[in-house]
Symmetry: C2
Amino acid sequence: MEIEPKLCKVEDALGILVGKWKPIILLNLMKEGTQRFSELQRNLPGITQKMLTKQLRELEDEDIIKRVVYPQVPPKVEYSITEYGKTIEPILADMHEWGMKHTQHKQQKAQREVKSVSF
Amino acid sequence: MEIEPKLCKVEDALGILVGKWKPIILLNLMKEGTQRFSELQRNLPGITQKMLTKQLRELEDEDIIKRVVYPQVPPKVEYSITEYGKTIEPILADMHEWGMKHTQHKQQKAQREVKSVSF
DNA sequence: CAGTATCCCCTTAGATACTG
DNA sequence: CAGTATCTAAGGGGATACTG
């Protein structure tokens, strides 16, 4: 690999994904496609309006998602992944895969530790 | 791709990398190999002892790095990437690559915005 | 419906000083 | 050398109420 630590851009990519709700928001939009604000809120149990708004704005600022406002009453706002945003999908997929293996790894480690102290 | 959002393990992988110094610590250990506490501190300008200790402990807890204490005076402690820890290297590489493209993307976007308001 | 505006808590991270 | 311990500031995130 050989990434020169001084020139490291990992943080830049990380910054997009960091935020309690960002990965799950992205996965939702990627899987379900375009959604309204209220739909997203329904699909993200526990998120508050404030947090949903904030995370969406940040993702929008990075060009990962697109926000379309329909000038009508009551308001209608739709969110979707941009073409550019789709380029981050493989990274999410890899992280998901690694995360699954890591869950396993930790379970195995925990098992070993239990055995070594039991008698 | 199709990650089921409810079963998403992205957060688990993300948790390993999140922390102001973790990516750079990992890249240093991956590139330079085994290093002592003081070497790491030298290679990470600006980090405090407290932060370095904390991030190292967290990475150690996740089995990503290994800590070896030599019982001598003055103390000598060496840190290195575990075999298991190396499995996260491709993800760092991908994030670095994506991060470089993202930097470009943002610059191009900024250029377009400057042009559209100039005359 | 799709947000703002407040208030509040907790965690993260930095600065600094101390120790086996 | 390789850490702890303590204090503090800043920000992330939650609960709740209000609005065009």
